[in-house]
């Protein structure tokens, strides 16, 4: 139960992807990425869901959240301090407005040599 007497299980925060205007609901026990994928929404690139690959990098413009360990390969301590996080390791504690920093290479670049 939180301070307002709402059972945690019913808590849902509104997540807004500023790039597209897409909104979706995410509970405090769900990562921002898992909730988006579970609802069939798009916007944040979906990769390993474990904080290792870095494709779901976002910047939180407004809102509070908690994170699990994110690979330092992809999120520096300075970035973390500026609200730059991996969506798969970020759990909302309020409504959140975010912008997408990570890009799926395949969607945006031309491949001249099959794999690269």
């Amino acid at each position: 139960m939180d301070a307002t007497g709402t059972p945690e299980a019913d808590l849902r925060f509104t997540i807004t992807i500023a790039d597209t205007g897409e909104t979706y609901a995410c509970g405090p026990g769900q990562s921002l990425l898992d909730a988006m994928v579970a609802l069939g929404r798009k916007g944040i690139p979906s990769g390993c869901h474990g904080g290792g690959c870095g494709v779901c990098k976002i910047k939180v413009a407004n809102g509070t959240y908690e994170t699990l360990t994110m690979s330092r390969e992809h999120i520096s301590a300075e970035e973390e301090a500026q609200g730059i996080v991996l969506a798969c390791r970020t759990f909302p504690r309020s409504a959140i407005r975010l912008s997408v920093l990570g890009k799926m290479r395949k969607a945006v670049t031309q491949r001249r040599y099959g794999l690269v």
Partner: protein
């Protein structure tokens, strides 16, 4: 003489408790040791050496090193000479530096990946023993994978800058350690750029694979299952445990393996791989996949990129 098989892989994990839930509870590996530095060692039930997976707590995901086991201690001296003659620096590593292993040699392949060769590792034994064994043991958790089968390493490929670490590393493995080429992908306008290779020392199509990408890294490490039905069951176990799957059960054209790609809780890609493909022998002519059939080779049924095969790795 020479390299027998993959010995172990050392993976970095962001959260050891979550990693152990995954490697023990989902993959069904068995923990055999934990050292003072917090590294945890595991083996499959069908493996006899002390470990094939070493998990290291870290602030980033990926692979620290990969190790292959050679047949005899003297092979280490022969291979050291051949690797040095090729122009790659080799370090001697005293016994015990690799946990529970005898002396080893260490070097970086042209791709940059760190590799160890060793001849001895502490014997633990298969879960079913060696006298009148049952075909499988009771009490396995989750998928109950048999053994660490192979790893696929991403190697820098940038043809316009003249960089092809796939070709360089393939040449290195073949010339110094007598790896044999089972299959390759050739790309580019003239089809002369080797963009991916599958190499073997055992009698299966690959003990290591190399694929070109923007930077070096670990694409996946694979654990062996017997057959297609086990692959389906493995996918059920993953879904039950909410494991993030990258590619659901399907067949590879290359190696003919039955596959699932999925991620450990730190984002390292795993594979469960079933079927022994075909009998690979040193005199078998290598198979070539052309660029226009590249994705048929990787995902045979759909013939197109599935999941995030080339864009997501650690």
């Amino acid at each position: 003489m020479g390299v027998m098989r993959i010995g172990h892989i050392n993976l970095r994990v962001l959260d050891m408790a979550a990693a152990l839930d995954h490697y023990q509870g989902v993959l069904g590996l068995i923990k055999t040791h934990e050292d003072d530095a917090g590294n945890v060692y595991l083996k499959g039930w069908d493996e006899w050496d002390k470990y094939s997976v070493m998990l290291t707590p870290s602030d980033r995901a990926g692979m620290n090193h990969i190790a292959y086991k050679v047949e005899a201690d003297a092979d280490l001296d022969v291979l050291k000479g051949r690797i040095q003659d090729y122009g790659v620096a080799v370090d001697d590593v005293p016994a015990g530096t690799l946990t529970a292993c005898g002396r080893a040699i260490r070097f970086n392949m042209p791709s940059g990946h760190e590799m160890f060769l060793y001849a001895e590792k502490e014997f633990v034994g298969k879960s079913v023993g060696t006298t009148n064994p049952e075909p499988w043991p009771d009490g396995l958790k989750g998928i109950g994978a048999h053994w660490l089968d192979h790893a696929l390493l991403m190697c820098e490929l940038n043809p316009e800058a003249g960089i092809n670490k796939v070709a360089e590393t393939t040449d290195f493995l073949m010339k110094t350690m007598d790896f044999h080429l089972a299959e390759q992908v050739m790309v580019g306008p003239d089809g002369d750029i080797q963009a991916a290779t599958w190499l073997f020392r055992t009698s299966t199509p690959h003990d290591i694979a190399l694929v070109g990408g923007p930077k070096m890294g670990l694409h996946h490490c694979a654990f062996f299952l017997d057959e297609w039905n086990d692959v389906l069951k493995a996918a059920d176990v993953m879904a039950k445990n909410k494991v993030k799957m990258d590619v659901t059960p399907q067949r590879h054209g290359i190696t003919r393996g039955y596959t699932i790609y999925f991620f450990d809780p730190s984002g390292n890609r795993n594979e469960t791989f079933a079927g022994l493909g075909y009998l690979a022998q040193p005199d078998m002519p290598p198979i070539t996949w052309t660029e226009d059939n590249l994705w048929r080779g990787i995902f045979y049924h759909t013939g197109e990129e599935a999941g995030a095969f080339t864009s997501v790795y650690t």
